[in-house]
Symmetry: C2
Subunit: 394 residues, 2 copies
């Protein structure tokens, strides 16, 4: 009597969410400071001061205007501001008419995928990948095909990608800076990918869309260059979110940008509007659309994350762990101390260390540590990491 797929999806909640719920219970039992929860990508730095300042100012405006419906695609002034910022920051001529405001990155993806995909289509995922991609592609009635990015740097494997593309390939999701590795795909990789997709689109007489999932675009360290994908490949759809950049993950605000140079750009945008409508996304939250207008492009203060990144990477590698040195986002991807990462995470749990096994990211043998926590938590957790590795080396 119920949708069996939805029931299965609801019962087997995501590994990350499960640990998040366990963490809440465990903290209530032994005190929050004694649980080292590294499971969730919930930003730990406050929103930039401009966010709350602008909310205060907006509260003096007309309530009906402020809290009313916007157009389904979003407030036009917000969309224009975003297009102008993109032109200024990346030298790309975005079209405000091809920007669709969304309820965050997940909605950006589900709406785009539902617009683009038809039954029988395949979407390429680059492992390691955000586990919900699979759920979102299947919601759109299509299938995923996974192509591994080779260790230890998890860069693109163009030969493997070429082998994986066939007449069913409709899109590829690229997430850079990457969750869970923290890697940023270098310009050389992007150029190679763009050339491959151009060639394959021509070969199969249908465009392969590059879905740029960019919630971590503003979270980059050491001045690492993050290529703006629409500058390299025309059939690009950018899925953006303010969750991590402005520390507003619960507020659900982001956007989809269709490149004006994409094949059938206007129709693609119309299909996006249709997909949003069909899933009940009436409009993105109106107050936070106004916040996006004022705060789009504000560089977050990353000093806290950067400090955590160095402290955690240096400490763990000194202990004997091996990890990818992250250039962006706020995750450290660490090699499990035994082949079964889930078993390793269970042992870590005995030390109150809550880590996420890489299996659900398509990268068995690794664990993800979200370091968007207090530096204090990392400092307090180091003896537990030490004990954990000693357990394996005894």
């Amino acid at each position: 009597m119920l949708s069996q797929e939805m029931l299965a999806l609801g019962k087997k909640s995501s590994a990350i969410r499960e640990i998040f719920e366990y963490s809440k219970k465990r903290k209530a039992q032994i005190g929050a400071e004694n649980v080292y929860d590294f499971s969730l990508g919930n930003p730990s730095i406050p929103a930039p001061r401009q966010v709350n300042e602008e909310i205060r100012r907006l509260l003096t405006c007309d309530s009906v205007d402020l809290h009313g419906y916007t157009s389904a695609a979003g407030d036009m002034q917000t969309r224009q501001t975003i297009a102008e910022n993109i032109a200024r920051r990346f030298g790309f001529s975005a079209d405000a008419g091809l920007i669709y405001m969304t309820c965050g990155a997940a909605a950006s993806l589900t709406v785009s995928l539902k617009a683009l995909l038809q039954p029988g289509d395949e979407v390429l995922l680059l492992a390691p990948y955000f586990p919900e991609y699979k759920v979102f592609v299947e919601n759109a009635g299509a299938r995923v095909r996974v192509v591994a990015c080779p260790e230890p740097r998890f860069g693109l494997d163009l030969q493997a990608l070429e082998n994986a593309i066939d007449q069913n390939t409709r899109a590829i999701i690229l997430n850079s800076p990457n969750n869970p590795t923290g890697a940023v795909f270098p310009e050389e990789d992007i150029r190679g990918l763009a050339a491959l997709l151009t060639q394959k689109s021509a070969q199969y007489h249908r465009p392969i869309t590059l879905l740029a999932d960019e919630p971590y675009r503003e979270l980059v360290y050491d001045n690492t260059f993050v290529p703006y994908l629409p500058n390299y490949y025309d059939d690009t759809v950018v899925c953006y979110s303010y969750s991590k950049a402005l520390s507003l993950p619960g507020e659900r605000i982001g956007y989809i940008l269709v490149s004006p140079k994409a094949t059938a750009a206007a129709d693609t945008f119309a299909a996006i509007c249709g997909a949003g409508r069909s899933m009940g996304y009436v409009c993105a939250p109106s107050l936070f659309q106004q916040i996006a207008k004022v705060c789009d492009g504000i560089a977050p203060d990353l000093s806290g994350y950067d400090k955590n990144r160095r402290l955690l990477y240096d400490s763990l590698t000194q202990m004997g762990y091996s990890a990818v040195y992250p250039q962006g986002a706020f995750y450290l991807f660490v090699k499990s101390l035994e082949p079964d990462a889930a078993a390793f995470c269970e042992k870590a749990k005995q030390h109150e260390l809550l880590l996420v096994p890489g299996d659900s990211f398509g990268a068995p043998g690794y664990v993800r540590i979200a370091y968007c926590v207090s530096t204090h938590q990392i400092q307090r957790s180091l003896p537990a990491f030490q004990k954990l590795i000693e357990e394996y080396h005894l």
Copy 2:
């Protein structure tokens, strides 16, 4: 290369949204005060003062807590408050663990439908009905069957309903107070419906779920009694929204409540969580979940709408129009002056009156007038309504 269904849905935007967009353009041409836009159910009364007061207070709280993710089903304190308010107001033992916070009424419906429906299932709609119901049911892979509520009062036709129910009937959507008629289904109708659904569920050995779409629950006039459906029928899922009650339609906040007495209530809730997840609804906007906690159940000041209701109903019926006397919501459903309501709306447009034809509501020959506008707009529009009827009677 695109989903043809989504493209069609995006290109043919809803009749209401289309008029809304026309209205914006027309207002820019001849001045906002000269366009009598009665198309959109966008509340015109400000949010209750408690909303902005509470936002101001929340801005003094910890930013990371305030703007962070909540559990996928929502903040537990908010859900508990809602359950307590339901117990107090309606004498119904709601279970906070079976309340799922959503991004508004549309999301409440799409998520519930996707959880409940399997291919081949049918959902009964009672005409006149909100046009997007059809889009939402089809998004869940099922079909609608429409049962007309007879003129002039648009109450339930239990015999027609009985004839329409068969082994494929999985759910029925009931919207009371009703959009577009403003009618409230009386307790006698609800008792009859509950008895029929109970009988038919037993006959076909599968529960028929009553989806109570309740965005207008708090918008009721003349002390009209609105039965709380879970008190009458166990297999009820309530889809609630704060959009109209708190004048927050753009903020996208509402909830789904599964009756604890429903068949497989826990599994139904799990499937709802799965459906929300599959469509990218990570959590409902966190700031407005806090607003829901404080403002749930606040009675809106309806005096403005009530004044509009009387003024519009009295004026139009005196001119010779015939209309349903609305007991709730903020719509007046008026008989078109010619059989083709779309043609009638085109003539009305010549007088700058923007009305919505009943066709898309499954009620041809009628038009919907949303009176959630300023009383001033209604007063100014009356000569135009007068000229319009004279055009027909000349």
